[in-house]
């Protein structure tokens, strides 16, 4: 059944081919889901509402980008949600302590950077320490620190303009500012991953870390950069999330880590490393949002929504395999 692609070498299908095809599939699904949604709910094609709906979980999108890159390099980061929490809390505290909001925002990004660098440092400096366990532990550690510094309090009262980040629109249009911000960051990530030597090295590491090292690629340094980048983006996500919530608490962004990984993988990124790209991840983000939005508009109860999303998630990923096996058998018998 697998006769055509088998070799002793555990290779795979061609990288570019696969993920290009995958992205087209996602585009198709997005169109399909939109059509179905439009049928089911009269509110779906409301342009402004659609834009707002897209903006709702875009702060997760900021984290999807670096996490996709980390997955492509063959590692994993499950501490991002806690980095968001800690950055948010420390930003709020520094604002409360009298720092101007702009500087407080810098604090958030700086805290995120520090957390990411901490992860990266441990993972690259202590051989034998895997990124799963480090970021798993860091997940508790960072959120724990957020609890220590803020306890059961909430801090808010930010200046009015700050809420613009998550709630504001571009001029008088109905395009939320956050979509623009995300767009810029996404383009940057896309270019870095797909158009620079850095990105090329990330793929090499993800496909074969040993060979990458033997080729003189500074594997540790690149991983350190990747984890730090995840920290930076988590800090940025904290800025937007806090703006959305209008206040900060240690328990924000709970459970983001799995969702973010799921979106990246749905976008074609292989958790085993070396495969996938930024466009796919972004398409997956849009697809997920549209699905949830559509189901929400027709008031599918939360518990049923879980089942539906679960099934769709599995089916979407299974789809190309099903198509593939149909094609192979047709080739054989036809």
């Amino acid at each position: 059944m697998e006769s055509t692609k088998t070799s002793i070498i555990p290779g795979g299908l061609s990288l570019r081919e696969v993920f290009l095809r995958w992205e087209w599939l996602l585009v198709g699904l997005i169109v399909g889901v939109s059509i179905v949604n439009g049928r089911l709910s009269p509110h779906f094609w409301d342009y402004a509402g659609l834009m707002d709906a897209m903006a709702v979980f875009l702060e997760k999108g900021f984290i999807v980008l670096p996490v996709a890159m980390i997955l492509i390099s063959g590692e994993i980061d499950i501490s991002v949600s806690s980095i968001v929490a800690l950055s948010s809390v420390l930003m709020a505290l520094s604002f409360q302590a009298g720092l101007p909001m702009v500087l407080a925002i810098c604090v958030a990004v700086a805290v995120g950077t520090a957390c990411g660098a901490f992860n990266g440092f441990l993972i690259t400096r202590i051989p034998g320490l895997s990124s799963v366990i480090v970021t798993l532990a860091a997940n508790s550690l960072f959120r724990g620190i957020a609890y220590i510094v803020l306890g059961d309090r909430a801090v808010g009262g930010f200046p009015r303009w700050y809420s613009y980040l998550s709630w504001g629109y571009l001029g008088s249009s109905s395009i939320p500012f956050i979509i623009l911000a995300f767009g810029i960051v996404a383009v940057f990530f896309g270019l870095v991953l797909h158009k620079t030597t850095f990105g090329r090295k990330v793929y090499a590491i993800g496909n074969n870390q040993v060979a990458a090292r033997f080729s003189g690629i500074p594997v540790s340094r690149i991983k350190l950069i990747l984890f730090t980048l995840a920290g930076v983006m988590s800090g940025l996500a904290a800025v937007f999330l806090t703006s959305k919530l209008g206040s900060s608490r240690p328990n924000v962004a709970l459970g983001y880590e799995l969702e973010v990984i799921a979106i990246a993988v749905l976008g074609g990124v292989s958790p085993a490393g070396g495969k996938g790209g930024i466009p796919g991840a972004i398409l997956a983000l849009i697809l997920m949002r549209l699905l949830r939005y559509g189901l929400g508009l027709i008031n599918v109860p939360g518990q049923v929504m879980l089942v539906v999303i679960g099934i769709i998630l599995v089916l979407v990923v299974m789809l190309p395999n099903l198509i593939g096996s149909v094609r192979i058998s047709r080739k054989r018998f036809g």
Binding site: T6, I8, I9, G12, N208, A211
Partner: protein, 503 residues
Amino acid sequence: MNGLKMDTYVLELKNISKYFPGVKALEEVGFNLKKGEIHALVGENGAGKSTLIKIITGVLQPDEGEIFFHGEKIVFSDPTVAQKNLIAAIYQNPTCFPHLSVTENIFMGHPIVEPRTRRLLWNEMNAEAMRLLKTLGSELNPGSKMGDLSVAQQQMVEIAKALSLDARILIMDEPTAALTSRETEELYEITRTLRKKGTSVVFISHRFEDIYQIADRVTVLRDGKSVGTWNVSEISEGELIKAMVGREISQLFPKSEVPIGDEVLRVEGLSRVGYFADISFSLHEGEILGFSGLVGSGRSEVAQAIFGIHPYDGGKIFVRGKEVPIDSPWKAMEMGIGYLPEDRQLQGLVLPLTITDNITLSTLDRYARKGWLKSRAGHDISQKLFSLLKIKASSIFDKTYSLSGGNQQKVVVGKLLAGELRILIMDEPTKGVDVGAKSAIHKIMSDLAANGFALIMISSEMPEILGMSDSIVVMREGRITRTFSREEANQEKLLTAAVEVGR
């Protein structure tokens, strides 16, 4: 010859064709195997040898053609069918379980169990593994983790695995490529014993001494077609080469005499606990320094320490007279040191990437402006090396996993050459490479030396070491035992130094 009618073959392949996207790997190939014969299969890199044996074992299915087993038609739909029919194979690229022990690697799939409860009998398996390895002249501990072994050692385990199957047909795809002469001799012995027991052996090799030492018949493949089958006694080496390549190749080791220049690399008392100790030598411009020794003698370890893969914990490295601390490959490359790794699949290539991506991998920054890749980055140099090394593929955009073993090796060589580094350490540079390409690589090495490059060549192939080196270092159990100049060295001296001297 052995009481068998000439027309009944143990195995007969008729008109086998196999196509890969864009490649005709095999075209109407016929092949037959008699009971109790050793049948060599030869041909250039990419001729289709490995593909043919994968078809026999059921790893691949032919697109056309039929297979007869003891005169009856059979379909090897998956590897289990071949196994049930007692066909065992050693593949070109080790198909091992890196996380598991040597014993487990040997017995996975056919363990020794208690008949009733089917409980695994570990003691029996360990003892048997130890015995099998001993017959191969290896002292490997059956409890070692497979992933910790060198390629050559893994190759030994693969051979032991095939032997443990007690097969009636044994297929070996370049088993000797990484072995030194001592292990090779043991392998010959075993193969001959098997032949006596009536086992049929298919033996793929690029080394002619293998073929003339043990094979009864030889089949030549060229560009996916079979050229013919001969009794080994009836065909000369020159004729064989001509059948394979289509032309004659005169000089196998074209090392030209070049004046030895300044010292570029000096190693003093280098040691790494548990691996090697007290390694000292120096390397000059225009020199090819050969490293010889048995499998596991630590040559690769030393090379990798110099290249910054593993830290060393004693000794000094001087590059052009200046002591340099090398703790990572990219630092080594900054110092102008390049390394061609022995394990092409694990250390040399990023298999899912294309030939050009691999060739340019270590020099990426050269094809970029401030980190931004130029389009068509490095395609020129890849194309040049592609032609120079005669890599058999449709273009430089083929994925390297689809290449034959020898062609993968050529890509690794190309990658090293693309680096434009002045000190090259080549670990088994011609492993698995066919005669034509081998002489081409030797020519390149010789030219490099003539242009003032300095080369270290680790090789397990005695003629290569003797033919190419200006001087030869022999290692044994992590220490240098002797150093020979080109003139004083000969096979015997090297062998004794590898096993005896230093006690």
